[in-house]
Amino acid sequence: MKVNVGNDAQARQMGGDIVGVTGTTTSSPTGTTASDTGKAWTSNQWAGHVIVMAGVFGVIVSNTSTVATVDRWYNPATPGGAAGSTPASGVYQILGGGAPAIFMGLTADSGAANATDTTLPSEITTAGGGLIRKICAYAHTTGVASYTLTAVFTANGTDSLPVTVAKMGIFTSLLSGQMLFETLLSAPATFNTSGDQLTVTESVTN
């Protein structure tokens, strides 16, 4: 189901919102921040937007009047992989719309999806594991009012097994960001050993 945050994000992405802004950072960005002391932004007005700098981008998770905090810097060619390089101080653009929701996470929590949820309860976050949040394959048939996001999870030796997953979430970030969809799996699935694999497809109907 599309949660309330998902409704807000969809409206922002498809309807417009602020068209964006450009500027020059006034100090060197860190791994999660970009600062421009010449600005007077409203708190969190850019949350959910994308900031682009020097060949990398970040998903803004919050902002103060002068500092945008991102989840991390992404390499556009491999957003599901390792973090991109932290850019040097320079020109930035904050884009209109918002970051695409292309990352899927899993949880063993089997509670019903709730429209007011903003995070996936007890999401699996084992660093180095195969069941952590990952980027999806996207598919769309021309002219049809729906699309799918599919992720293939393969358990590895780092995961805490066995585990039975029951629910998934779709996010705008590989690490944090906004959860737009939260859906119970059609049936719980148990990972018993390393190498066990699960394919999860979320259909989004417009």
Binding site: A137, G143, T148, Q197, T201, T205
Partner: protein, 169 residues
């Protein structure tokens, strides 16, 4: 990586209300007052292309994972069509194309006689928001629609005083 699949029986998903024995919509059991719905997939005629974008490289999908994502029982294809694909094309990786064709039981590459859009046309239409096969916008406009040149020359179309219909999504 882009994967293209010929689709002659596309599924059009919709959330339809679940009716009770009296034909009235059932309410969701969570007590929220919302109408209980279920997904139904209508069958769309015509030749279309399903475009899959699969992340590869660092953090992306291996060839076997692509196979599961596209052709597996819980993969994406069964959510997009009522029938097996008419063909599969992966211009960036012929080995992947052949593997998918074998798994899906369809021709590898676009066959002669395919009457739908080509992969290139489909990809362009996705970006441009035009459905292949639809007439160009110029053919949808009435023949007496004023041209930009006519407007520049001082033509003033008649303005009708009418209330605008409310548009809802």
């Amino acid at each position: 990586m882009h994967i293209f699949l010929g689709n002659t029986a596309a599924k059009a998903w919709q959330n339809a209300p679940v009716l009770d024995a009296d034909g009235k919509p059932q309410l969701h059991p969570d007590g929220s007052g919302a109408v209980l719905t279920e997904e139904r997939a209508a069958r769309l005629d015509g030749s279309r292309v399903t475009i899959v974008t699969v992340p590869t490289g660092d953090g992306g999908y291996s060839r076997l994972q692509i196979l599961s994502a596209v052709a597996g029982p819980d993969g994406l294809w069964v959510r997009h069509s009522h029938e097996p694909p008419a063909w599969v094309a992966v211009p960036e990786s012929i080995p992947t194309q052949d593997l998918l064709a074998e798994e899906l039981g369809c021709p590898s590459g676009v066959p002669e006689g395919w009457d739908g859009p080509s992969p290139t046309e489909a990809l362009a239409s996705e970006s441009a928001g035009v459905v292949p096969g639809d007439p160009p916008v110029s053919e949808l406009l009435p023949t007496d629609y004023p041209t930009d040149a006519a407007l520049d020359a001082g033509f003033k179309p008649e303005v009708q005083a009418a209330s605008s219909p409310e548009v809802t999504a």
